[in-house]
């Protein structure tokens, strides 16, 4: 069943890659990359279970944190144009 799950992870990864390639706006691509991160987390944990080496769960936890931070970094670059400003200029301001 774990093998079936990891094959399904591969199929879902390919579908998310298709959306990353064709997404019309940049937000589609960010969304698809976020989904790819989630699927990779599941795939690493499942791979650890299949190979009887559950230490891979640590790497999976690290990827979960990196996925969250990375999504926010890319969104902040899209919204404000930089990563380092103090947040005085909001994207909705005129």
């Amino acid at each position: 069943m774990m093998v079936i799950a990891i094959i399904a992870c591969a199929v879902a990864l390919i579908m998310a890659l298709v959306r990353t390639a064709l997404g019309p706006t940049a937000f589609d691509r960010v969304l698809a990359v976020n989904a790819i991160g989630t699927i990779v987390i599941l795939g690493i944990a499942l791979h650890g279970f299949i190979m009887e080496r559950p230490e891979f769960v640590d790497i999976s936890l690290l990827y979960a944190i990196l996925n969250f931070i990375g999504t926010f970094a890319v969104l902040k670059i899209f919204s404000t144009g930089s990563l380092g400003d103090a947040g005085t200029k909001r994207p909705g301001d005129k």
Binding site: M1, M2, I4, A5, A8, C9, V11, A12, L13, M15, A16, V18, R19, P24, T25, F27, D28, V30, L31, A32, N34, A35, T38, I39, I41, L42, A45, L46, F49, P54, V57, D58, S60, L61, A64, I65, F68, T71, F72, L75, F78, S79, P91, G92
Partner: protein, 138 residues
């Protein structure tokens, strides 16, 4: 007991796989950013939670299952935050949802006109539609 644990684990992973495939299919098929967020929400909550739950049941009571529960709790809290920030950023940058091609003030006036009079303003619709189509990023 062993059979019960195995059955529960396989059932949970199977349901998670179904949710994962449905969510990724929706990510490809749905027409809009705001609609695709729903599909990714399905992957992030239902798929990931059920597969992690299946692995926790399979691992039993150990440090590995504690780490898996930690991953599950972290993703349960962070993925809605990430998708919310993404939807907000898309809205701020002017991505228009499919089916709502009117501009915001024009939509308000159209709603008001529809509230006061039964007849919808047909000739007023043409101008904001073109403006919104111009604004929509290709």
């Amino acid at each position: 007991m062993d059979l019960l644990v195995t059955t529960a684990s396989y059932l949970s992973i199977g349901l998670g796989v179904v949710a994962l495939l449905i969510g990724s299919l929706g990510l490809v098929r749905l027409p809009d950013v705001y609609a695709r967020i729903h599909a990714v929400g399905m992957i992030d909550t239902a798929g990931a939670s059920l597969i992690i739950l299946g692995m926790v049941i399979h691992a039993g009571f150990s440090l590995v299952s504690a780490k898996l529960i930690l991953i599950g709790v972290f993703m349960f809290f962070t993925s809605p935050i990430a998708t919310h920030a993404l939807a907000r950023a898309a809205h701020m940058m002017g991505v228009v949802p499919v089916g709502r091609n009117l501009d915001k003030p024009a939509r308000k006036t159209a709603k008001k006109a529809a509230k006061t009079s039964v007849k919808p303003p047909v000739q007023r619709k043409a101008k904001p539609k073109s403006a919104a189509a111009k604004r929509r990023p290709s």
